[in-house]
């Protein structure tokens, strides 16, 4: 029994510690894939720390890691820029309306007169 338990302990410390490091590529982390395909903002808030960790690992451990990471962010910028660079539908009319209201307000502030002003004398 003592020999059996000793063997069991021995195997616990020898066999169980083996990690397959070669098959893990940090640049292929599912969170990085998600950020690449759907954007950085698609990464859930609860996974942000894991995401940053994966980014760091990808940068350090892979030869072209830095390039891959910068590609993720560049693609995100481009995605956001493309989706918002032109007004769509009613938003242009609304924006012009806001702009005109503000122009009208500021012109009024400068030129409008009130009873009691010198112009009324």
């Amino acid at each position: 029994m003592r020999i059996f338990l000793s063997l069991l302990l021995l195997f616990q410390f020898t066999a169980s510690q083996e990690i397959d490091n070669q098959s893990y590529n940090p640049c292929e982390d599912p969170l990085l894939k998600l950020a690449r395909v759907k954007g950085v903002k698609a990464v859930p808030l609860k996974d942000i720390r894991k995401f940053r960790k994966a980014l760091r690992k990808c940068k350090v451990s892979q030869k072209d890691g830095e390039k891959k990471v910068s590609e993720i962010f560049e693609a995100d910028w481009k995605r956001d820029y493309k989706s918002a660079m032109i007004f769509s539908s009613w938003t242009s009319t609304y924006s012009i309306l806001v702009f005109m209201t503000l122009v009208y307000y500021y012109i009024g502030m400068i030129y409008a007169t009130e009873p009691g002003d010198p112009e009324y004398d």
Binding site: K41, A42, W77, D80, S83, A84, Y94, S95, V98
Partner: protein, 236 residues
């Protein structure tokens, strides 16, 4: 026929789940400061109130939350608060005093990106304004009432002084027109500078104090130019 029905349900569920998973609700939270110049005559013209300074007159605490519901458009809630605390000193009485004016903006904002990092945004929104004045007082009846309660518990040491806080409240409506310039530091974080006006339909009549209509302080808070500087954080 039955299998067709199940197939349809399956396709419907698949499309629905796909929409939920793929769509990106763009939720953002912002925190910052505002600057404006109201004329709070009711407080300025009376020495009993705490003296005015930049913090209790011109500075506004600003926070908000926005949701991008359409491409180039967001809806949100934005709160601008002007706060004043101190002691009031009347002839026969002095006590703690708090005055809060809150401008709650229910914003509909459109925007476009002029450059990848630079965005212009346009807001025209209704405003729900609320003024609250709180003051500590010493109502005499309260002392007797509390002493009776204390006696019922077997107390022999009684109090001879007690304070209580009451508040008077006023709600009003208005509207705001604001144009903003936003600079994205990263895809989640941005700095937003806004300028515009705040028009409040405020009358000093009809403040409510203990279910009674009373006259409140004179405030000139219509046609106010306003500036805000905020840090935006994109939650999703």
């Amino acid at each position: 026929m039955k299998s067709q029905k199940y197939n349809l349900i399956f396709v419907f569920v698949l499309v629905f789940v796909n929409n939920v998973v793929n769509s990106q609700p763009k939720l953002s939270f912002d925190l910052g400061l505002g600057l404006y110049q109201p004329t709070l005559e009711g407080f300025d013209e009376n020495d009993a109130f705490p003296s005015k300074n930049v913090f209790n007159r011109n500075l506004l605490l600003n926070y908000g939350i926005y949701y991008e519901f359409f491409s180039n458009a967001r809806i949100g809630y934005n709160s601008l608060s002007s706060l004043e605390t101190g002691q009031v000193k009347f002839v026969n009485f002095d006590g703690a005093f708090t005055r809060n004016i809150n401008y709650r903006i229910f914003a509909l904002e459109t925007f476009f990106r002029w450059r990848p990092r630079i965005e212009f945004n346009f807001t025209l929104s209704p405003v729900w304004g609320k003024g609250v004045i709180k003051m500590d007082t010493e109502p005499e009846e309260s002392v007797v009432d509390w002493n009776e309660l204390l006696a019922s518990f077997g107390n022999t040491d009684f109090i001879n002084k007690i304070g209580s806080t009451n508040s008077m409240v006023k709600n009003w409506v208005g509207y705001a027109g604001i144009i903003g310039l936003r600079y994205y530091l990263s895809s989640r974080v941005a700095v937003d500078l806004k300028s515009g006006f705040l028009n409040n339909n405020y009358q000093e009549k009809d403040w409510i104090l203990n279910n009674t209509k009373v006259t409140g302080p004179k405030l000139k808070i219509d046609e106010l130019p306003i500036f805000t500087l905020k840090i935006i954080y994109g939650l999703r």
